[in-house]
């Protein structure tokens, strides 16, 4: 599945080649000459709008159609985080710079590469402006990083829609803008650049619009994959992780994790609310599959270690899949679930099977009656039946036994910290 996230020397070569074509096409389109670029603002030559919007729309259609059919994992595509205040201020500054200087950073590179001295002067100005921003950055820090910061958010997410309708709307808007541009160029001949471009070929343009419409409709009709479809698309990987028991951890390892303050840990309990209220591990948070899809999966980061638990394993496995479908979530499953946890730390049975052995239980909380009875005799007494050797008469908190209890049981640590698979940032922020 795409994106491929090439690394190392392949990344360097791929990026240089992509940059090469970027610069080549910009120059071939005439963007190395400020007169061509400035003419945009006098409506006599609209090539900036035509090139920019057809590029944006082409890539947009391919990305979202590709995502709809399951070839591209959109979660892995870099979406620049939104900082509204900074975008407004920066955008206005860029507009001012554009009308005064006639270039933008990318085109000034191309202009400099074709030996235009004004391009070089502009480039020097860009460097100076960046340096100036750096010098003033301590004073604008809050404005730059906090005001209007919304994180990674797309237009369709902000509107609560699927990507498809927005893709179609943007496509249609662009086609309308192109029609307007053709009209404007004929109407406002003031700043016509000296060298013309290749004329429009109706055949080619019709082909583009048709292809674009098809892709837009694919995105609208098929729609972006929801959690269930994403799980189906990654079935092989997810099933392999579950079959190999690689993601199941022993109760003792979880207890060890609960005392490890160096790791940001989240415990998600997907049992029924009544079971959860009767007993849950200390600091475990109740979560439904829907909450996992809507709240947890978008917010969890690669630095956090997540452990999912149910009474046995069946429900936890399903919930785990809803998390593991994102490659930047480090999620595990409590082997044997809360039942096995209570076998060890409530009933004192230290010889329960290790995490290699699953539990075929049907998600019934075997200790429900015991905890109900405990609640009825709130004397803080040791739970009946508990007899952990070496700790006679101690008050055991089953929700998080004493740290010494960790050593009562051997386990092979399986939790590994995850290195986030991140797409390199595109602009100055990355």
């Amino acid at each position: 599945m795409f994106p491929l996230h090439v690394t190392g020397i392949a990344d360097v070569l791929v990026t240089i080649v992509i940059g090469f074509w970027f610069g080549f096409i910009l120059e071939q389109a005439g963007f190395g000459d400020c007169r061509n670029l400035a003419a945009q603002f006098y409506l006599s030559d609209m090539r900036v709008l035509k090139v920019m919007f057809s590029a944006i729309v082409t890539a947009m259609l391919l990305v979202f159609a590709g995502s709809a059919i399951g070839w591209i994992d959109f979660e892995q595509i870099f979406v620049p985080p939104t900082y509204l205040a900074a975008s407004v201020a920066g955008g206005l500054a860029l507009g001012i710079g554009f009308i005064i200087g006639g270039y933008c950073p990318g085109t000034s590179l191309v202009s400099s590469a074709t030996l235009k001295l004004d391009g070089l002067a502009f480039l020097a100005g860009v460097a100076a402006g960046i340096f100036l921003f750096g010098l003033t950055s301590p004073y604008v820090k809050e404005f730059w990083t906090v005001t209007g910061a919304m994180g990674r958010v797309t237009i369709f997410e902000w509107l609560g829609l699927d990507a498809g309708p927005i893709v179609l709307a943007v496509f249609l808007m662009a086609v309308g803008a192109f029609a307007g541009a053709e009209w404007a160029e004929k109407r406002f001949p003031w700043a016509k650049p000296p060298v013309p471009g290749v004329a429009n070929s109706p055949v080619v343009l019709r082909a583009f619009v048709t292809a674009g419409l098809v892709l837009a409709l694919v995105a609208v009709v098929i729609g972006q994959p929801d959690a269930e479809r994403k799980i189906a698309l990654q079935k092989a990987r997810l099933d392999a992780a579950v079959q190999s028991r690689r993601v199941f951890i022993d109760p003792a390892e979880l207890l060890d994790l609960m005392y490890n303050n160096q790791v940001d840990r989240i415990l998600l309990d997907v049992r029924s609310e009544s079971d959860y209220n009767l007993f849950h591990l200390k600091d475990a948070i109740h979560a439904t599959i829907e909450e996992i899809d809507r709240f947890w999966r978008p917010r969890l980061t690669a630095e956090q270690v997540v452990v999912v638990m149910s009474n046995d394993e069946r429900d936890a496995i399903e919930a785990w899949k809803h998390l593991a479908v994102s490659r930047n979530i480090n999620a595990y499953i409590l082997a044997g679930g809360v039942n096995r946890w209570c076998d060890v730390y409530f009933a004192g049975n230290l010889n329960v099977p290790g995490p290699e052995f699953g539990s075929q239980g049907d998600e019934h909380f075997r200790y429900a009656e015991a905890f109900i009875k405990l609640r009825q005799c709130p004397t803080g007494a040791v739970p009946v039946g508990l007899n952990i050797p070496g700790t006679p008469g101690t008050d055991i908190d089953v929700s998080r036994p004493d740290q010494k209890s960790v050593t009562l049981r051997q386990f092979t640590p399986k939790i590994r910290l995850l290195k986030a698979v991140k797409a390199p940032g595109g602009g100055c922020g990355g």
């Binding site: 791929v14 910009l26 603002f41 920019m52 947009m60 591209i72 620049p80 509204l84 975008s87 471009g197």
Partner: protein
Amino acid sequence: MANQPTPKDQVTKRYWNPYVAGVSLGGVLFLAFLLTGSGLGASGGIARVVVQVVKVVAPSTVDRNPYFAPIGGGFANPLNNHIVWMVAGVLLGGFVSGVISGRSRVEICRGPRVRPAQRLVLAFIGGAFMGWGAAMARGCTSGQALSGGAVLSLGSWVFMMMIFAAGYALAYPFRRFWL
């Protein structure tokens, strides 16, 4: 008054059709997404060169500055980054394209009423606004508008609208620069 073509302009080959160029550029952008997960960019690479220069001249400034430090503070090499290689490629591609089309020559492109020296000053000033704005917005027309716009990032579209708004608003007041 339209720009009069000079004899040098007659020699230049025709530019690509803008729609063809745009769709091709979109294809390259898409390829970038497929292979690396992120799009194109330019200002980020320039910023890293700036940080590298400052690092050589005054390294403590880099370390203590909230904007420079994440880019190149401490032991980090600001030039060892995806966006820098991209910029290298852009320079190369622009250069080759200019050479094969006969557009590679030392000259100053300017509006008809602007003298060459004036043009250089204006270009520098325009660039300074652009550089400041690109650092503020965490990207420029390539990284934010083009690449962020293609993936429908909310901030990128707001940014793009602002660029055009400011440019068009100032077009008439600044018409002496171009017309």
